[in-house]
Symmetry: none
Subunit: 135 residues, 4 copies
């Protein structure tokens, strides 16, 4: 019972609205529990290079079931996971990716946002993650 | 003057509605004039392997500004473009990808659809392409 | 509710036993519904190049929820899906990959086998697919 | 005289049992002297992103015939091997990968484990490495 398109689109729309409200231009990607894309949008004039980053953030958040920024804290030089971003075809380990959880904490996928500061990216991703409603 | 997100979403929504009406489960992708993704959806239970095919069809249609099936006619063994699918990180040259044109025939991007027969894929892509309205 | 390791190992073991019984040396791979590896073995002296083929067969079977050989019938020169193997990082479209189905036909993953003739590969994959028991 | 499947499966099983005993969810991969996969399992609910990391740890350990963590000590900024992880399609240089040695120190392959802290990963890999018995 994976993430439905309806749920993924609700997450994308909520993130989009948050971005419009904040006045930032974002790429927004949602993956399911298998880390495969379900929905994606690129806002007008959003950084082109942030498209791949948004996808990688969504996948990274689901790959390790934690916000991408938490991994970044562990992957610094001298840290226990230094160099982890060389796995899985490339990870992004700074904030902006959040796992999507269902009832009972069931892992359903991830959302990744990129296009502004990492604080903004995270805030927009959070708005999306909070909007994943019932199937 | 690139394709707007609003236009891309109109194309995706029209294609989605056509797919629902036909009772098929599709992956639908839209790229802009730079052949970069603008919007994408995967319908519930659509073939997982068709996600990448939909993206490649959208890009292929824009790369050469013609429907993907037209390229397939030229890339058969003995044909003038035999093997063209080895370029650009992989092309898909059977039907389901259509270029998106604006006023005066201006090339604006491409739409790619995958998840059923190639005839169905093309019909759904056409519904999407026809729905790209004014900016 | 994905494929469990216990189920994947039951499939691998049944395929392994079938291969021993047939006197063939196989690579055997099992993926879950997200097309991600769950279990894999390479028998002693099995063709080294068949390892990647087994993995790609398992993924291809799940990507399109049909035996890999069925896709091969459609992807010949002049066929409707000619060139499909250029998608998804490379597909294998000859026999030896079979989708794994659960109760009610629910798609749970795929098994891929490579190391002998395609008829042998398919027979061994079938033995594995039939052994996916209860969770 | 390569690693046999029987030996690889003994290593995987011992590592699996250690992981169950420790209450951690691991991906476990074993490669032979040619750094090619021989056996692999992903435990239920193990981090999806750790699958590729386990494979890369097993390969890295065999590529350089030393525990992956030892390489990590040399690949920090300012260190003699800074950036080594960009080779070989991506290395993982934190603990969890251990070379597999046979009689007389003969290099037979590597085991890689990922899914918990690097200390846990290493402990589980060690249990696997110690279980490679006679052919």
């Amino acid at each position: 019972m994976g993430l439905t398109l309806k749920q993924a689109q609700a997450a994308v729309q909520a993130a989009h609205e948050k971005a419009l409200e904040m006045g930032v231009k974002m790429n927004i990607a949602v993956v399911d529990a298998g880390a495969n894309l379900v929905a994606l949008i690129r806002m007008d004039d959003a950084w082109l290079g942030s498209l791949d980053i948004a996808i990688k953030k969504a996948k990274t958040a689901r790959y390790f079931d934690m916000p991408t920024g938490a991994i970044g804290g562990l992957s610094q030089p001298g840290g226990p996971l230094f160099g982890i971003e060389h796995s899985n075809g490339g990870l992004i380990t700074f904030p902006g990716g959040i796992p999507l959880k269902g009832d009972g904490g069931l892992m359903m996928g991830g959302i990744g946002v990129s296009g502004s500061t990492v604080e903004d990216d995270h805030a927009v991703a959070e708005a999306g993650a909070n909007a994943v409603g019932p199937r």
